[in-house]
Symmetry: C2
Subunit: 145 residues, 2 copies
């Protein structure tokens, strides 16, 4: 029986590594999409506590015009104020890149007020895998206007 050459074995190993990397990137993207869907649901239900639980214990929200909200209690308080009068929230992810337990998402968020006015911001969210679950760890945005 002929043995596979070093080259063939190396090529096979490379294919397996690349396939595993691709699957992993898709898994992280799915986790980010699921996290954003959970965020939107809790946000539109007005459940600031539930929104805060999507963040890591030492997460930071760095919002324009506000002091940094650090930790879940501050984050719940921030969103309790921030979700008042918002009737729709849409998150559009532009890209997700990840390495180990960190993932970086950038995208655009649109908030529609009770009066129908839409405000648009660009954001970067750093997600961190925390006990197996991907959570928001840094959340910063600003507006082009």
């Amino acid at each position: 029986m002929s043995r596979p050459s070093i080259l063939a074995r190396t090529a096979l190993a490379l294919v397996i590594v690349l396939a595993a990397t691709t699957v992993r990137a898709e898994d992280v993207r799915k986790a980010v999409d699921a996290g954003n869907a959970a965020f939107r649901t809790a946000f539109l239900a007005g459940d600031a506590q539930k929104v805060s639980e999507l963040y890591t214990a030492d997460a930071e929200i760095i919002a324009p015009g506000a002091p940094i909200a650090r930790g879940r209690a501050a984050i719940a308080a921030f969103w309790k104020g921030g979700m008042a009068g918002v009737k729709e929230l849409s998150l559009e992810t532009r890209a997700v890149e990840s390495a180990g337990d960190l993932a970086v998402e950038d995208g655009t968020v649109k908030l529609t007020g009770a009066d129908g006015a839409v405000s648009t911001s660009r954001y970067v969210v750093v997600w961190k895998r925390d006990g197996g679950a991907w959570k928001l760890h840094r959340d910063i945005w600003n507006s082009e206007k």
Copy 2:
């Protein structure tokens, strides 16, 4: 001769892994500090081209009140405008976390204008290791005011 127990060998392996992780985190922090020092030097010299080379080829600057600057040409053009009239730039890193080829820095930047007025912003910079060198990959900030 007695052989080290499984427990002793596991403990030793753990110490080595923890030590390696600590050294690695310190290395990344040093690379970020060096990157920021190079940024400040090029910025204060008015060298927008050199500043842009500190970013990855597909980096994004997401600045308040401006469209996203994507790629080195757009980034050089952005900073060429942004560095006019700035006589001092100070970057204060609050924290750096890293995994593999990604690192997340958050901190505060102060710009001093020719008239002595200081503007302060909070930023998140995602650094990416690119051909062995750590470069700015996402650069976003806003102001508390």
